[in-house]
Structure formats: structure tokens, C-alpha cells
């Protein structure tokens, strides 16, 4: 069985992730305040960062498409959106499990969690709109616009909720200071996760490219139908 180069890249990315996991579980010290469950945060935060990277790809792809109708740019956007939603799902689920252990409830309406949920909704909406729109130019255009508005919205939501919390002061929880071994583990995990995400985006881009090519072959002649004249009111 011949292994294509995408599979080789994937194997490499998986290997990196395994090394990262080894660091997470065996190298990083246990947090004295939260216990073992604190280890969730290495992959949880790395996934969030990988997701933001993916959505930046969606934004840039959309902007380039609007500028010069490059369907390659649109394919990068599609690839980025799907991978981004997957990583955001990972972020939300891991974060909820951590929150349940540390705060006693699966969900808190703080700025980070709220904006991450909004992020998920926006890009899940992106994928749904694209699926429902007419494939090709309409879908690409709509995608670009939704991607741009969505990308702007997330920091705005984050900011609004942060501000809202200052209006209603409550107990402050997070301690962000990290001892060096934890920081090293986190940076390494972040690097590996980003590489993993990048490989996934490239694979999905390839898939989109092949699918688009097949579309062209399968629909040799598209009959252009005249729009039905609207009855004059």
C-alpha cells in the first residue's frame, strides 16, 4: 500500500502530538491548587489557539476571494472553517469538564467561555450557510461575508462580556502564573497542536480541490434558465 505524502505528514503530526502528550502527563508537574485536572488546560488552550489560527485562514481566504474571485482562496476558507469548528468543539468540551471539576458547574457565563461559544455558533453557521447556498460563487461570497463579520464579532463579544463582568463584580478565580516546566510544556503542546491543525487544513484543502475538480467533470453543461418574470403588482 503506497503511502501518499499527506499520510506521511499526518503521521509526523500525530507523532508530535504523542510527544506532547508524554510531556503533559509525565514531564509537567502536578498543580498544587487544582490537582491532576489542571493538565486539561494544555490541550484546551492549545486547541483554542489552533482554532483562532484556522479562523484567520477563513478570514483571509474570504477577503482574497472578494478581492479577486480566487476559488483557491475560497477552498482554503472552507478547509479552515471545518478544522476550526472541530478544534473549537475540543476547546469547549475540555473546558466544560475542567470547569465542572474546578468550579462545580459545566458552564459559566464569563468572557472567555461566552466568546468561545459564540465563536462555535458563528462558524457552525458558516458551514451550514455554505451547505445550503448554491455551490460556487454564491456560497463563496456568502461564506466570505459571514467569515468577516464573524471574525470581527468574537473580540467584540469578548470585550462586551468582560465589561459586563466589571459592572457586576464577583469572585475572581483565575491564577495565570506558570512555573517554568508548565510553561515549557504548554508552549510545546501549542506548537504541536498548531502543526497538527495545519496538516489537517492542508488535507482538507486537497479534498476540496479534488471535489471541485470532480464537480466540473460531472456537470459538463449547465443549462442557464431565464428567471421567471415576476407578476407586476
Amino acid at each position: 500500500m503506497k503511502v501518499n505524502r499527506y499520510e506521511k505528514a499526518a503521521a509526523g503530526a500525530v507523532a508530535l502530538m504523542l510527544v506532547a502528550f508524554a510531556a503533559i502527563f509525565f514531564y509537567a508537574p502536578t498543580d498544587w491548587l487544582q490537582g491532576a485536572v489542571q493538565r486539561i488546560f494544555y490541550l484546551h488552550v492549545s486547541s483554542a489557539i489552533a482554532a483562532y489560527g484556522c479562523f484567520t485562514v477563513v478570514l483571509l481566504g474570504g477577503l482574497v476571494f472578494l478581492r479577486n474571485e480566487s476559488y483557491a482562496a475560497d477552498r482554503w476558507a472552507r478547509a479552515g472553517a471545518l478544522v476550526g469548528v472541530i478544534f473549537t468543539t475540543v476547546t469547549l468540551v475540555m473546558g466544560s469538564l475542567w470547569a465542572k471539576k474546578v468550579w462545580g458547574q459545566f458552564w459559566v457565563w464569563d468572557a472567555r467561555l461566552t466568546s468561545t461559544l459564540v465563536l462555535w455558533i458563528i462558524y457552525a453557521g458558516y458551514l451550514l450557510v455554505r451547505r445550503l447556498a448554491e455551490p460556487g460563487r454564491q456560497a463563496a461570497r456568502i461564506g466570505a461575508l459571514v467569515g468577516i463579520f464573524g471574525f470581527v464579532d468574537v473580540p467584540v463579544v469578548h470585550f462586551s462580556v468582560t465589561w459586563w463582568v466589571t459592572q457586576h463584580p464577583g469572585p475572581v478565580i483565575v491564577n495565570d502564573a506558570l512555573p517554568p516546566e508548565m510553561l515549557a510544556t504548554f508552549l510545546f503542546t501549542m506548537f504541536c497542536t498548531i502543526v497538527f491543525a495545519a496538516v489537517l487544513v492542508v488535507i482538507r484543502y486537497r479534498i476540496e480541490t479534488l471535489r471541485d475538480a470532480k464537480q466540473v467533470l460531472v456537470e459538463p453543461a449547465k443549462v442557464v434558465s431565464a428567471r421567471q418574470p415576476e407578476p407586476v403588482p
Binding site: 501518499n4 502528550f21 490537582g35 491532576a36 493538565r39 486539561i40 468540551v93 475542567w98 489537517l200
Partner: protein
């Protein structure tokens, strides 16, 4: 402790499953 395990199991299942599914889709498209 089990929350930790569930969290990472979920991540591995989702990310790994997605990777495998994508690679298989790629193979399928290449074959045809």
C-alpha cells in the same frame, strides 16, 4: 482525575477520528 481522562479521550477520539476520516476521503477521491 476521571474528568482529565474523559477530556483527553474525547479530544483524541474527535481529532484522531477526524484525521482518519479525512485521509480516507482523500484516498477515495484520489482513486476515482
Amino acid at each position: 482525575m476521571s474528568y482529565l481522562v474523559i477530556a483527553y479521550a474525547f479530544a483524541v477520539a474527535l481529532l484522531g477520528g477526524f484525521l482518519i476520516w479525512s485521509l480516507r476521503t482523500l484516498r477515495d477521491l484520489d482513486r476515482r
